[in-house]
Structures are given as structure tokens and as C-alpha cells.
């Protein structure tokens, strides 16, 4: 097989920054470089740019600008939401799901070591949390319910609104990690019932290292990053001005483009899924058949291991992933796939393809052309196939 094109299909890991976004950021490095906290004209320019970005983020998720706090990414937003709620809450119990991103799970585990109790809600075979399980899990001591809007590995969209309603009935704040949701489907904090919501610019055409936490007015959370009086005293640290400007521009573009991009991506996704399942035996779709991110394909190939698939794809110019990029350094099977009931050996053989802005139908063709051969070659050297 020879390399015919370069295809990036790992947009759930990160996306290229859009040219319009880079352009918007550029003046803030060396020209309008003022520290937004200062008083002079140069600083005011920076401050105004930040406030414009704040309005853009607020508008994109149906919030008010005063409810938006900029962070260094999705991970910080999740850490802050959870540790901040724990710090201020009058209890010691947190409810979350078994398939959260590690930014949520590992934060909860750290809190467990400090004496908090955490309920990790199970999911069904498609990766969905059942809202009734939230009802059962909440106690008098619960300080936070945190369930992601959409999963980064298998793309399953959660019934967030129903979960939020349960939390609200119990007067427990509700956090949602919407890092994968922004730009994929309409996100409105009121419709979702979110009190806290995390997002990250690099997942929708913005730069890495910048994100935001939405904090509904009146939600009590402690600070996470302590220091200067930036972000109205709630998130210290000199603001990443170019990054924040980039986040603002990227979210505008992503949300404005959604009516076109979502159906376009979903059509490619469906063609990929159908093509793979039809052409390659012993294969199953991971995640939900319909309640699924428009750009997410995740399939399990029996008898083979995911990393070796990735390497062969890479050699043919295709960038893909086995699960969340953060765990690719680990040798554990994906916690998301095993939570959905996949036996570990199938979990090990899963491939995630996530589509984006630059992908075309030709990219889909190319993947469908080379993938069957790769799977066949790897199965030919696998000791497992014979056994089945």
C-alpha cells in the first residue's frame, strides 16, 4: 500500500487553528501586548479585546458575559468546577459518571484521597447515563453532580437536561464538561440546566491552552487559581490575551457554521461507519447509534490491537486515535469502552476517527480504501483469530 494523501481525522484530540482565528490573535503578541490589568491606553485595548471575547463566548452558550471566566483550557475548567464546588459545598459527596474525561475523573479521585466520597454512575452499552441513577445517587451530602455533555471517545451525547433537572430538584449544582459539544450541537446553559460548564478552544478551531468556565450567577464555588485580581478576582494570572481573543473568534465561527458543518460531518460519519461495518467482518460500532457527535466514528475490530492500526494508518498518511489522546501513553484499555461493557481485548482493538472542518469526501474514500487491508494484515499475524 502506498501513501496517497494526508488525512487528519483526530479532531476530538485537537483541531488546527482556523486562519481567521490566527489573524485575530496576531496583533496581541507584539503590538497590542499590554497587560489588561494596567491603566494606560495599550492595556485598555487588551482589556477591551478580552471583554469582546467574553461576550462572544457568552452569546455562544446563552449566558451573560459576567458568567464567563477564562481558564488555561478544559482541564482547568473541570478542575476548578469540581474542586471549587467541593471547597464551598456543605457536604462531602460528588456524583459523576464512569465515562468522564480524566480531567473530571482524576480530579474526583484526588478529592477521594482527601476524604470526599464519589459515586461513579454506570452507563448502558451505548455509553448513556440513565437520569434515574442520578436520583438514586444524590444524598443530603452531595455538593455537585458532574456529567459530560458528550463523550470524547465514543461521541455519545448525554441526556444532560434530564440529569440537570434531578440535580436542581435536590438543589445540587450541576456541572457539565461540554468540551466536545461546542460547535457540534447547540449548547444553551439554560436549556441544559447547567450551573457550571467547561469548554476548551482547541477543540473547535481555537488555540490550545485556553478555555472557559461558565458559572451561573449565584453558584457558590471557591477559587482554584489564586493570586492577582484578574477575572473579577475569581481566576488569577495574567490573561492569555491572544489566546482569549482566539477563543472568542473560534467560538463565533464554530457556532455560526454549525447549521452547515454538523450535517456535512454527520453524512461523512455515517458513510464511514457504514463502509467499515459493511466491508470488515468482526467489527462493531462503539457508542450510541443516533445520540452521537456528528463527527465521531469509533469501531472495535476483534483480534487486533489499536496502536498497531494507528501506526499503519499513520504510515499511509492518516492521523487517528484509539481513545482520548491523553490516555494514549497508557497501556490500560479505555475506561470508557470497558464501562460500556466491552471486554478488554475488544476495547484494545478500537479505532476512533473524528472528522473536522478540512475533511472532504475524498478523505472518507481514502480511509475506506485502505482500512480493510490494514485490518486484514494485522489479523493475519494475530494469535487470537485462530482461537475464535
Amino acid at each position: 500500500m502506498e501513501r496517497k494523501r494526508t488525512v487528519y481525522m483526530d479532531h476530538a484530540a485537537t483541531t488546527p487553528v482556523r486562519p481567521e482565528v490566527v489573524e485575530a490573535m496576531n496583533p496581541y503578541f507584539s503590538e497590542r501586548f499590554g497587560n489588561p490589568s494596567s491603566l494606560y491606553a495599550l492595556a485598555r485595548e487588551a482589556k477591551e479585546a478580552i471583554e469582546e471575547a467574553r461576550e462572544a463566548v457568552a452569546a455562544a452558550i446563552g449566558a451573560t458575559p459576567e458568567e464567563i471566566y477564562f481558564t488555561s483550557g478544559g482541564t482547568e475548567a473541570d478542575n476548578w468546577a469540581i474542586k471549587g464546588a467541593a471547597l464551598r459545598g456543605k457536604g462531602d459527596h460528588i456524583v459523576t459518571s464512569a465515562i468522564e474525561h480524566h480531567a473530571v475523573l482524576h480530579t474526583c479521585e484526588v478529592l477521594e484521597k482527601q476524604g470526599y466520597r464519589v459515586t461513579y454512575l454506570p452507563v448502558d452499552e451505548f455509553g448513556r447515563v440513565e437520569p434515574a441513577t442520578v436520583e438514586e445517587a444524590i444524598t443530603e451530602k452531595t455538593v455537585l453532580v458532574s456529567v459530560m455533555a458528550a463523550n470524547n471517545e465514543i461521541g455519545t451525547i448525554q441526556p444532560v437536561r434530564a440529569i440537570a433537572e434531578v440535580a436542581r430538584d435536590h438543589k445540587v449544582p450541576f456541572h457539565t464538561d461540554a468540551v466536545q459539544a461546542i460547535g457540534a450541537f447547540p449548547v444553551d446553559v439554560d436549556e441544559m440546566g447547567a450551573d457550571l460548564l467547561a469548554l476548551s478552544a482547541h477543540k473547535f478551531g481555537g488555540p490550545k491552552g485556553v478555555g472557559a468556565l461558565y458559572v451561573r450567577r449565584g453558584t457558590r464555588i471557591g477559587t482554584f487559581m489564586d493570586g492577582g485580581a484578574q477575572e473579577r478576582g475569581r481566576r488569577a494570572g495574567t490573561e492569555n490575551v491572544p489566546g482569549i481573543v482566539g477563543l472568542g473568534r473560534a467560538i463565533e465561527l464554530a457556532v455560526a457554521g454549525m447549521p452547515q458543518s454538523a450535517p456535512r460531518l454527520a453524512a461523512m460519519r455515517d458513510r464511514l461507519i457504514r463502509g467499515v461495518l459493511d466491508e470488515i467482518p468482526d467489527t462493531r460500532l462503539n457508542g450510541h447509534p443516533t445520540e452521537r457527535l456528528p463527527n465521531n466514528v469509533n469501531v472495535a475490530f476483534r483480534y487486533i490491537e489499536g496502536e498497531s492500526i494507528l501506526l499503519m494508518l499513520d504510515a499511509l498518511g492518516i492521523a487517528a486515535s484509539t481513545g482520548s489522546a491523553c490516555t494514549s501513553a497508557s497501556l490500560e484499555p479505555s475506561h470508557v469502552l470497558t464501562s460500556c461493557g466491552l471486554p478488554p481485548e475488544h476495547a484494545h482493538g478500537s479505532l476512533r476517527l473524528t472528522l473536522g472542518h478540512r475533511n472532504t469526501e475524498d478523505d472518507v474514500d481514502y480511509v475506506l480504501e485502505v482500512l480493510p487491508g490494514i485490518i486484514e494484515r494485522l489479523r493475519a499475524i494475530s494469535p487470537l483469530r485462530g482461537e475464535a
Binding site: 483480534y303 487486533i304 490491537e305 496502536e307 498497531s308 494507528l310 501506526l311 499503519m312 504510515a315 501513553a329 497501556l331 484499555p333 478488554p344 481485548e345 484494545h348 493475519a380 499475524i381 494475530s382 494469535p383 487470537l384 485462530g386
Partner: protein, 129 residues
């Protein structure tokens, strides 16, 4: 020195075109290590004549490094005496492959272990006979 990022050219060559793939019918020795739960299984088959490894083949379920180390260890074992083959260590395999990222060293461990298991199996059978 910063730690190695990614695989060496040599690893990729062995991964993309592995040598000595397959099973041997009625092998003189057979070794199997690993566990599908951990994402890796390695099988090595050997044919032995006059204490020399005449043929050696493998099957592997595992990552790129597991496949490359299987290919390399079988190359290294071919034509060696059993004693020489027993002396092959995981570091030897990694060195022959121009190094492995630190997290992947256990894969070369597996390859050496599977080879040694096949030799032990052969020796065990010899004793019985």
C-alpha cells in the same frame, strides 16, 4: 537527553514488514506470554536441529512495538544455538531496534520472554523423551 519520542525507523520497518510471521505446524518448542486483557499476546514457535534454532515464527496481538520486537527477536534467534538464544535479553532486542520509548520497554520484555518460553518448552519435551 530528552526521552525518545515515537518509534525509530528500524522499529517502523519491522512493524510495517514483519519477518517470520505465522505458526509452525508441530513445532519443537512453543512459547506464549501476555494477556489479551493487557492488550498483548505473543506466541513463538521454534524448530530445532542439533541444538540450533532452524526455524522460528511468531504471532502477536499487540502494539506496534510488540510486533516489531517479535519480528526482531525471531530474526535474532534464527540460526543461534539454544544457549545463545537463551542469552538474548530485552535490552538486546531494544538495542537492535535502535531503541524503544521507555513506556514500550515491556514489549521487548515480552518478545524475549516468549522466545525463552519456547526454548524451555522444547527442553522440557526433550527431558520427557
Amino acid at each position: 537527553m530528552a526521552e525518545q519520542v515515537g518509534y525509530s525507523q528500524k522499529v517502523m520497518e519491522h512493524f510495517m514488514n514483519p519477518h517470520n510471521v505465522g505458526a509452525i505446524e508441530n513445532p519443537d518448542g512453543y512459547g506464549k506470554v501476555g494477556n489479551p486483557v493487557c492488550g498483548d499476546i505473543m506466541e513463538i514457535f521454534i524448530k530445532v536441529k542439533d541444538d540450533v534454532i532452524e526455524d522460528v515464527r511468531f504471532r502477536t496481538f499487540g502494539c506496534g512495538s510488540a510486533i516489531a520486537t517479535s519480528s526482531m527477536v525471531t530474526d535474532m534467534a534464527r540460526g543461534k544455538t539454544l544457549e545463545e538464544a537463551m542469552a538474548i535479553t530485552r535490552d538486546d532486542v531494544a538495542t537492535e531496534l535502535d531503541g524503544l520509548p521507555p513506556k514500550k520497554m515491556h514489549c521487548s520484555n515480552l518478545a524475549a520472554d516468549a522466545l525463552h518460553a519456547a526454548i524451555e518448552d522444547y527442553r522440557g519435551k526433550q527431558k520427557k523423551e
